[in-house]
Amino acid sequence: MMLTDENKKYLLTGNEACAEAAIQAGCRFYYGYPITPQNEILTHMAVRMPQVGGTCIQVESELAAINMVHGSAAAGARAMTSSSSPGISLKQEGISYLAGSELPCVIVNVQRGGPGLGDISPSQADYFQAVKGGGHGDYHTIVLAPGSVQETADLVFDAFDLADRYRNPVMILGDAQLGQMMESVEFNKKSEPNSYKKEWALTGANGRKRNIVKSFFPVRGELEEFNAKLQEKYNLIKSKEVRYEEINTENADIVIVAYGTCARICKEVIMKNKLPDIKVGLLRPITLWPYPSQVIQEIAEKVQAILTVEMSAGQMVEDVKLSVLGRCPVHFYGRTGGGIPSPKDIIKKIAEIISLKENSTCMT
């Protein structure tokens, strides 16, 4: 049992930090189903929600969880659900309905290996699902990718604010590594959560015109008009909410693009660079949607090559290539099924890229 003090450091798993940050962000409605490696979120909520007068229901299914989130969000409250990859697949229809109904909420995916039952090890193989829609229809969720336990807490706090500001679901895309490891974390948010006037919410129509929360537009033309409005919102998000971290990208020969756990490993590569003749930088996307395409494009103008490192068979690399648009070579190094890239592997890959380049210079 834990009650958090400001400015005090706690040693927590990423999952616990995620749950606690949600409570501090004003989330009082959490619905979850057990699945490894995110169980600590549900168990933390089961302890903490009653302490703060909130609701935590262990539900019968992922479908029930995401649809209870739908109800609580429609009722005007801050609501969250969490799961891991197979469970997130089950929630996709619900996420589409949330996006189509313009309901704010937070969905946490502590990714594990796939496809299918896969395994419970760290993975980043749900990137496509998270950033390209996942469910049916033309929609986007805002996708935030933390790189540490502290950042998990900070981004969960921000996620509720972004969700309310844009009336849009926000996904926290972590992985088994980030969820399970313990680090020190502070909940030192000086500000109270912003409060948003939710005039659209279902509260009973006393003293006002009634509200309808819906995503059904059967009259010809209405749906296209609504979709255009959604796209306008997405363009606004793209223009205002891109977040990333840059390390040593100035004058770099090679820049690595990696997020989450992979970015941590790549940071170590940069700090302990054993290739003294080659300057290596890192671009770490923090928002995976909207994607930091502009900065990657600018980097591509200046570097010899970009290397994308992922715990997948190559997913985010497609967005890197779409950002680079041929301005420089884009290489990929990935591990799947619970394999985690080691600094040694990445250094080897960089050396390989350099030797490729030298060979091609020799040949011309």
Partner: protein, 248 residues
């Protein structure tokens, strides 16, 4: 002169999209009357299902939420937990509630969620032109049971009231029909009791209403009423299956 029968305040006066002879209009009018009589228009939140009744919010002038197919009880739960003092009801068809949403309805009832469910059983998928529903009668012909529903292939019809009434969380479970003025009055009384159950915070209530679907039964309206009164009630007997007031 005093008006003894008028459009309820909660019922929006607009042309209906329901087919001729359909029972949805009657049932939704009853809900509107009850909301008026209980003076809870500003304190009621409804959930519309996927299916013919998705447009229920075109008729009921209250706060309403759509839900994905089968999920109204989960959405209702999410709303009720935020607003425990509002009256929250879901309005669901037989495909929605008894097929794709069977898990949600069982667990919502079992949690004793303090909501009311209006379950419209017309033994067929109407919106999609008349396929077999979980409540389609044995030997009943539908688009997907052209030779009639076979117990061997499709199983027997699901009796939802009987199923839910054995759960501890269910407080009021009843079945009625809208085939005659007498039955319509009875239906209204039962729905009213469902709302009362919720307002008094007793727990979960569900009222199943046997309702005609002449167009997708490929029957005229008179035969449809007969079909309910003579055939459907044999499988789905009318009555109260659980009542917190008659328990100790």
């Amino acid at each position: 002169m005093e008006a003894v029968y008028k459009t309820p305040d909660t019922l929006i006066d607009t042309p209906t999209h329901y087919c001729p002879g359909c029972g949805h209009g009657v049932i939704q009018r009853l809900i509107a009357e009850i909301i008026d009589e209980k003076k809870i228009k500003g304190d009621t939140i409804g959930i519309a299902p996927v299916g013919c009744a998705v447009l229920a919010y075109n008729y009921l002038d209250i706060d309403m939420c759509e839900a994905a197919h089968g999920r109204p009880p989960a959405v209702a739960t999410g709303i009720k937990r935020v607003h425990p003092d509002k009256v929250v009801f879901s309005y669901q068809g037989d495909g929605d509630l008894a097929a794709i949403g069977i898990a949600e309805i069982i667990h919502t009832a079992n949690r004793g969620e303090n909501i009311t469910v209006i379950f419209v059983n017309n033994a067929v998928y109407g919106m999609t032109n008349g396929q077999m529903a979980p409540t389609t009668l044995l030997n009943q012909k539908t688009l997907t049971t052209p030779q009639g529903r076979s117990e061997q292939c499709d199983g027997a019809p699901l009796r939802i009231c009987e199923l839910l009434s054995v759960l501890d969380g269910s407080q009021f479970v009843a079945r009625a029909s809208v085939t005659s003025p007498k039955n319509i009055i009875k239906t209204k009384q039962l729905i009213e009791k469902g709302f009362k159950t919720q307002i008094q915070k007793k727990g979960f209530s569900l009222i199943e209403v046997l309702s005609p679907c002449p167009v997708y039964w490929r029957m005229n309206s008179v035969d449809s009423i007969k079909f309910i009164d003579e055939e459907m009630v044999k499988t789905f007997p009318l009555g109260i299956f659980k009542d917190w007031e008659s328990q100790n």
